[in-house]
């Protein structure tokens, strides 16, 4: 893995998200109420809705377009819906948010 610094934790609202542009398309970086971060492709498995604009509750996000709910940990759709959104490694260190850029390179090459 090769983590890159994408910004400060405070730059992401608690129970909110910010978007990072990558070669693979936009990645949504979420911050939960307990100050953990998760990175998911910013495209809903249903019809491509921007998950970064969803309501964050617990470690889940609800898509703003048709209310599908996804686990931020696994990217799996919850409940009756089926589908998965790609996840990326992300972490917080000394107040900075780090995202695994290697993952994006290899998968864009593939």
């Amino acid at each position: 893995m090769s983590f890159v610094d994408i910004g400060a934790l405070e730059d992401i609202p608690a129970q909110g998200a910010r978007v990072v542009r990558t070669k693979l398309g936009c990645v949504a970086v979420f911050r939960t109420a307990d100050d953990r971060v998760f990175a998911l492709a910013d495209r809903c498995a249903h019809k491509g809705g921007p998950l970064s604009e969803g309501i964050v509750h617990g470690h889940k996000v609800t898509c703003p377009l048709h209310n599908w709910v996804f686990s931020l940990e696994t990217g799996q759709a919850q409940g009756a819906d089926t589908g998965q959104v790609q996840t990326f490694a992300a972490k917080v260190e000394a107040g900075r948010v780090l995202l695994d850029a290697a993952q994006m390179k290899t998968e864009s090459a593939a």
């Binding site: 992401i12 542009r21 070669k23 936009c26 307990d34 604009e53 964050v56 509750h57 470690h59």
Partner: protein
């Protein structure tokens, strides 16, 4: 004898010396320096000294006799100014002394926020006996203190001073108290307990400046301009390792003096322990790990092998009557599971965090009896799979009962108002039940509770059930969502009856089953709270749907549409030029809407603050086409132009829109004013529509033109524009106060049993109408602000752009 010099007579060094004299009696000639003019005492018991529950003498741990018996040379009240590791010599203010081994145990220094005025007299920290005595001396009844910092120390200081009769305000930067040890729910309960003791607590409050007079503190000013007068200001916002001596002596220092697991610094003859050290990047602020370090340091000095491993710590607040306990790691996480138990009746909150089959964290409030049992399970990493189901009930209780949905109603005091329409309290209903009214209808007949709008019927049934026990089976209404047992109606009533003014307050008092709700209840609660407590509650953007959070309508491709207000559907050539320019600049698709205005579609999120700034510059504000709030007021040209016109329908529409815009409602709210019954503005399918006639104005309500097509029902006929405006405002406010979230007015009207009750409130009862209007206007004083103007700033422009762009890096 070998010479040992110890710098700092604190909690860590005191314990270390005890161990040392035990394992190696008579081997060391000890010199003990302390900057404070006294020897070792139990610092953590300063709080009971402050509150008057203990005297200083009771907390001294080592007295003159002890030092003498062990041959300790005491140099108390003398600060060490330098260490020379080459010559192995320590210099104090009154002279030097040589050592074979040196122990640094200087503890930490309180962090003082660099606010203007921090050097004024009366600005203190909370660390030692001097600080404690300053607080005790200041504590004349009626004297005022402000404490900055709502952590352990700040709250103990506040509670102690309050017990001595002072007026105390706690100013805390974060959203809830003790945020490092507690989650928001427990923080809410703690805050309530402190407020009950007469302590004022301000959260999310940022200190700006300390104001003084003749060199003495006079008040604290917050960044919102609030001034808090005070005679004493205590800063308790954190500590920093006192590592300067070590740094000057050339030891390896990060944030603290770096030591290995044997407590040795980078110089093998110099040990360090306590709050002044850093071990594997970790700092220490509670005594339990310091005691472990003391043991290791004593062993290292006597040449024995021992090794320090940091352990889990638990926290208790030493404020009599505030029972809270937290231990371990209680953040949510992958493969982690929460068990939440709330008993609103007893003010109890418990949360356990499990990872796999292990308990890794616990937060308890109100009932901490099982704290140490949980702490043991955490420390020992016990496999708890066998008792998982009943774990939260503690060791004594295996086979627990499920949470009681009736608990919130059972906990209501007798004077809590159940029926808002008729002002009936719980006590009156209970009395009626005891006098034989054992059905809902009988209660209605005897007390009038739930006899008007009917919203509180569910609650009355719960009071029946609580009072009669098994003799009454309450029909179960549909809960708001999976997070609670309560239906919308009950939640709305209880928010008012119990004066619940924050999201954690509602979730705790009404027994929410999830830590922070879901996408279904959070927007509803956010609306109820801001509608009922416009002054106290702060709108939470993260509990709003995307459109209301971003003040634009999201489209299927993730772009947004932007729609400026056109008052009453009127515009001007200049506005049209500005709209055209913006459409070109941001490459928008232009659509004339059904709401008599112009929609610019296809705007990227990061462009929103820019296009708003452009439209603002031309005098336009948000049209709120995205909101559960006032949308448009459609009008026809009326007497201005039309040969059939009877009244100034355009002018009245504009007046209504100017009064109502910016208000939030349970669902969207649309109006129209049409100049004659030909109805060109389609007023008969609006939430509220006005039809102008020769003799005045006909007001209809409850129309809709969606999947369900509804015609308005007549509410009133009045003679003047003023009356139209008053009745409209009162109707909107009544809807705001009593409808369920996401019920359009026609649904709400049906639930209240037709227009009768509503007409009585807003048309017939003039006094009530005036009160509704006054409450609406109060809310507008907060919420009638253009959200675009507030957000067309560089800060928002930054916040709404991507956080980072990795497309370039990824290409390398």
């Amino acid at each position: 004898m070998k010479k040992l010099v110890v710098i700092g007579a604190g909690m860590a060094s005191g314990r270390m010396l005890e161990h040392l004299f035990e394992v190696a009696p008579g081997e060391w000639d000890v010199t003990l320096f302390n900057a404070e003019p006294r020897g070792n005492y139990n610092r953590i018991m300063l709080s009971p000294v402050l509150s008057g529950e203990k005297s200083f003498e009771e907390i001294v741990t080592h007295d003159a006799g002890w030092y003498e018996a062990h041959g300790v040379t005491c140099r108390f009240g003398e600060r060490v100014v330098s260490i020379d590791t080459a010559r192995k010599e320590v210099t104090g203010e009154k002279g030097a002394v040589a050592y074979d081994k040196l122990v640094i145990a200087t503890g930490s220094e309180p962090f003082m926020i660099p606010l203007p005025g921090r050097d004024l007299e009366g600005v203190i920290a909370y660390r030692d006996l001097e600080d404690t005595n300053r607080m005790i001396e200041a504590a004349a009844p009626g004297a005022r203190a402000v404490v900055i910092g709502g952590g352990l120390l700040g709250l103990e200081a506040a509670a102690g001073m309050r017990l001595r009769g002072m007026e105390v305000t706690v100013v805390h930067l974060m959203g809830h108290l003790m945020e490092r040890q507690l989650d928001p729910a427990a923080g809410y309960l703690l805050r309530r307990a402190l407020v009950d003791r007469g302590i004022e607590v301000l959260c999310s409050a940022n200190s700006k400046e300390i104001l003084g007079e003749n060199g003495k503190v006079r008040a604290l000013r917050l960044d919102d301009g609030t001034e808090l007068p005070c005679d004493l200001l205590v800063m308790a916002v954190g500590i920093r390792p006192a590592s300067a001596l070590g740094r000057a002596a050339g030891l390896a220092v990060g944030r603290g003096i770096q030591v290995d697991a044997q407590m040795r610094s980078s110089n093998p003859d110099v040990l360090a322990l306590g709050e002044c050290i850093e071990f594997e990047g970790q700092l220490f602020g509670l005594v339990a790990p310091l005691y472990d370090q003391a043991k290791v340091a004593a062993a290292t000095l006597s040449g024995e092998s021992a090794s320090f491993t940091p352990r889990e710590v638990s926290t208790k607040l030493k404020v009599t009557g505030c029972d809270l306990f937290s231990a371990g790691d209680f953040a949510e996480g992958p493969e982690r599971e929460d068990i939440v138990f709330r008993d609103p009746a007893r003010g109890v909150y418990k949360r356990l965090v499990l990872e796999g089959n292990r308990l890794i964290g616990a937060v308890l409030y109100g009932d901490v009896a099982d704290g140490n049992w949980f702490f043991g399970l955490i420390k020992d990493a016990t496999d708890v799979s066998e008792m998982r189901e009943t774990l939260i009930f503690g060791p004594a209780f295996q086979g627990g009962a499920p949470a009681d949905p009736m608990a919130a109603v059972a906990a209501l005091p007798a004077d809590a108002e159940i029926c808002g329409c008729n002002g009936v309290c719980k006590g009156a209903i209970v009395t009626a039940i005891q006098n034989g009214a054992t059905t809902l209808d009988a209660i209605k007949a005897t007390t009038k509770a739930s006899a008007s709008c009917g919203n509180c019927a569910g609650l009355v049934e719960q009071v029946l059930a609580v009072t009669l026990g098994d003799a009454f089976v309450a029909p179960t209404a549909r809960p708001m969502c999976g997070c609670t047992e309560h239906p919308h109606e009950d939640v709305r009533r209880l928010i008012k009856a119990k004066a619940l003014k924050s999201m954690p307050a509602v979730m705790q008092e009404l027994g929410w089953k999830t830590p922070n709700g879901c996408h279904s209840c959070r927007p509803a609660l956010n609306y109820y709270l801001l509608a009922d407590w416009p002054l106290e509650y702060k709108d939470d953007p993260q509990s709003r749907f995307v459109n209301e959070r971003n003040h634009a309508n999201i489209q299927k491709d993730g772009t947004y549409s932007v729609m400026p207000r056109m008052w009453g559907g009127m515009t001007t050539p200049d506005e049209l030029l500005a709209i055209a320019a913006a459409a070109k600049k941001y490459n928008a698709t232009v659509k004339v809407t059904g709401g008599q205005r112009i929609d610019l579609l296809g705007i990227k999120k990061e462009d929103l603050p820019h296009i708003w700034a452009d439209l603002n510059a031309a005098g336009m504000v948000s049209g709120h086409a995205y909101s559960k709030g006032l949308r448009t007021v459609k009008t026809c040209v009326g007497t201005d132009w039309c040969r059939f016109g009877t009244q100034d329908s355009t002018g009245l529409g504009i007046k209504l829109e100017k009064r109502l815009w910016g208000s939030w409602t349970p669902h969207k709210f649309k109006l129209a004013v049409t100049g004659c019954p030909r109805n060109c503005a389609e007023a008969t399918c609006k939430d509220l529509g006005v039809i102008c006639v020769e003799s005045g104005y006909e007001i209809g309500v409850g129309g809709a033109a969606g999947m369900e097509l509804k015609e308005t029902e007549p509410l009133a006929k009045v003679a003047s524009e003023e009356e139209v405006i008053d009745i409209t405002v009162a109707f909107v406010q009544l809807y705001r106060e009593s409808a369920n979230y996401l019920d359009r007015p026609y649904k709400w009207i049906a639930k209240t049993g037709g227009l009768g009750w509503i007409r009585a409130q807003v048309v017939d009862d003039l006094e009530n109408r005036a009160c509704l209007i006054a409450r609406f206007d109060l809310s507008q004083s907060i919420y009638q602000k253009d959200p675009w103007a507030e957000r067309a700033t560089p800060d928002y422009q930054r916040a709404w752009s991507p956080l980072a762009d990795l497309t370039k890096e990824a290409a390398e």
